[in-house]
């Protein structure tokens, strides 16, 4: 009873801290991006463009087998990039197909997708028939989602987020936008840590058990305090930018350097996608 009360009381704090921990984990974990591996060795521009190409291929193909083969390529790339397969599969396959299956569930049945029946059943007086076109459509949908998500996850975990942001410039995004997003990314961590510290400071003074209403007050105070500090800090950061010569039009370092390996990779990726498109067309 006491435990239940406790859990309910610090619900807000736990939710906030869990959200912050997830945010930090998802956004700032660069463990695999710093590993030595095939994808990590590629120029981020080439890597992003080829993954975009794979993504377009995955969403355009109408054959689950061909999309599945692209998924195979994705897994091979993960292996070559020192990504533990179990971790990768857990991250990409455990929840996403389950969610997509829930979405496509109605399309399995003859009511939504008529066609050749594969299996019929009676449940609670309802007669249900699963059809082959329904099954094929659902399979295609799930495989497509799993492949697309896996490609995106693979790209994001093998590339530093700062590099991914800089790649945006290849697509003609203005430097000021890239700089602003980069700074948001930079300070997100700082403010997440600040909010965590405030919770720890409150806990150190009032203990773990606090009334729910008090918890809400702490959160409200936290929001106001963080807002004040972000406003103040943004002015100071602007001063620091001015101090180093910023006049409104930023110039950023373009560190990317393409190597023959990047070009070979690009050609291979284009050939692979063209081959898959051709195979899909002739099927």
């Amino acid at each position: 009873m006491r435990n239940k009360l406790h859990k309910r009381r610090d619900f807000i704090e736990r939710s906030t801290l869990s959200a912050l921990a997830f945010l930090k984990d998802a956004t700032f974990a660069e463990e695999y991006a710093n590993c030595k591996g095939f994808l990590q060795s590629l120029d981020p521009r080439f890597k992003t463009i080829t993954f975009l190409l794979f993504l377009i291929t995955a969403v355009s193909l109408k054959s689950a087998v061909l999309i599945g083969s692209l998924y195979g390529v994705c897994l091979t790339l993960a292996l070559l990039s020192s990504i533990p397969v179990a971790h990768f599969l857990t991250r990409t396959l455990l929840f996403i197909p389950l969610f997509s299956l829930t979405i496509v569930l109605p399309t399995l049945f003859s009511v939504v997708t008529p066609g050749e029946p594969v299996w019929s059943f009676h449940c609670l007086g309802i007669h249900g028939v699963i059809t082959r076109p329904g099954l094929d459509g659902a399979l295609l949908f799930v495989v497509r989602i799993a492949t697309s998500v896996s490609l995106i996850v693979l790209l994001s975990i093998t590339t530093r987020h700062s590099e991914l942001l800089k790649v945006l410039r290849v697509f003609g995004i203005p430097q000021i936008f890239v700089l602003t997003v980069s700074m948001c990314y930079r300070y997100l961590f700082l403010f997440a840590t600040m909010v965590e510290n405030i919770f720890t400071a409150v806990k150190s003074r009032v203990g773990i058990l606090s009334h729910r209403q008090h918890g809400q007050q702490v959160v409200a105070w936290n929001i106001a305090n963080t807002w004040n500090r972000t406003t103040q800090m943004s002015e100071e950061v602007y001063m620091a930018m001015l101090s180093r010569g910023y006049t409104g039009e930023p110039r950023l370092l373009s560190e990317f350097q393409a190597t023959p390996k990047d070009w070979v990779w690009l050609v291979c990726a284009v050939i692979l996608c063209a081959g898959l498109f051709y195979k899909g067309y002739t099927l």
Binding site: F28, E30, R160, H161, S162, L165, S182, M183, Y185, R186, Y187, F189, L190, T193, M233, E236, V237, M239, A240, M241, L242, S243, R244, G245, Y246, T247, P250, R251, L252, L253, S254, E255
Partner: protein, 269 residues
């Protein structure tokens, strides 16, 4: 006269027009000088550095930098602003403010790039300053993963990459471990030996003997209450006591607790 870099006459500044930060400061800073500005918290040291860096401008009084009057509208001209920024660099007290880029390399490159330095030269400077401050291994790290000492060294590197004539340091050793303090003091001393003008705001009196030849003491009235050689200022017990700058500590001697104060240059008994 030509070697005067900054000249301040009765300079006043207040925040939001009602919170005074500087109430009539007179100061002359010459090229190659090593100056410390000391004072208790809230006496206007950081505000002075921001004025000297052209981030804020005097509301009253007269201030010149490199022989020209420092006015807000003169910095509206990009060329004039860049000319000034190439000559003056400020290392902020809070390194998290100064390091706003997603990687250390980009933070070091930011200043020179904005000031129109060619990218090839910027890359050369990155390697050079990284070697000087021993931060080669940090170049591709993100700033939020660094320790306070590492952040401070990267912040100094971001200014060093501009290679200004005047370095302004705001509490450069606050909160750092002794070894990092040593590295920063060595850096400041070497920069001065290369002809750079150094102005440091601090209340760490123990480092002043090394980083300053001239010391200005700021009082509670937000004015300079005394200026002079570091030795004469640091030996003036009454001045330091009055301005809340004396080091007081408590320790044990032969099982007895002992509380006393001592001056930075005074031998400890």
């Amino acid at each position: 006269m030509s070697d005067i870099i900054f000249e301040l006459k009765d300079v006043q500044y207040s925040y939001l027009g009602k919170f005074p930060a500087l109430c009539g400061v007179d100061m002359t800073i010459r090229s190659g000088e090593k100056i410390a500005v000391i004072g208790a918290n809230g006496t206007g040291k950081s505000t002075l550095l921001q004025l000297l860096d052209g981030l804020i401008f005097p509301q009253n009084g007269h201030m010149t930098a490199f022989g020209e009057r420092l006015l807000e509208h003169s910095h509206a001209d990009e060329k004039a602003a860049h000319r000034f920024r190439r000559r003056v660099g400020l290392v902020f007290q809070n390194a998290d403010i100064q390091l706003f880029c997603p990687s250390v390399r980009e933070d070091i490159a930011f200043g020179p790039l904005q000031l129109g330095v060619a990218e090839k030269e910027v890359n050369r400077r990155i390697i050079e300053v990284a070697q000087v401050l021993d931060i080669q291994h940090l170049l591709d790290r993100v700033p939020h993963q660094l320790s306070i000492g590492e952040k401070r060294r990267v912040a100094i590197a971001s200014v060093l990459a501009i290679d200004p004539d005047v370095y302004l340091f705001d509490e450069p050793t606050a909160g750092l471990d002794p070894l990092t303090v040593r590295h920063i003091i060595d850096f400041i001393v070497k920069a001065n030996q290369r002809g750079k003008t150094i102005i440091t705001a601090t209340h760490d009196l123990h480092i002043i003997g090394e980083i300053a030849d001239t010391v200005y003491v700021f009082g509670r009235n937000k004015r300079i209450v005394r200026g002079g050689s570091s030795e004469s200022v640091l030996n003036d017990r009454l001045l330091l006591e009055t301005n809340n700058l004396v080091h007081i500590h408590r320790h044990h001697h032969d099982g007895m607790e002992h509380v006393h104060q001592h001056l930075p240059l005074e031998p400890h008994d």
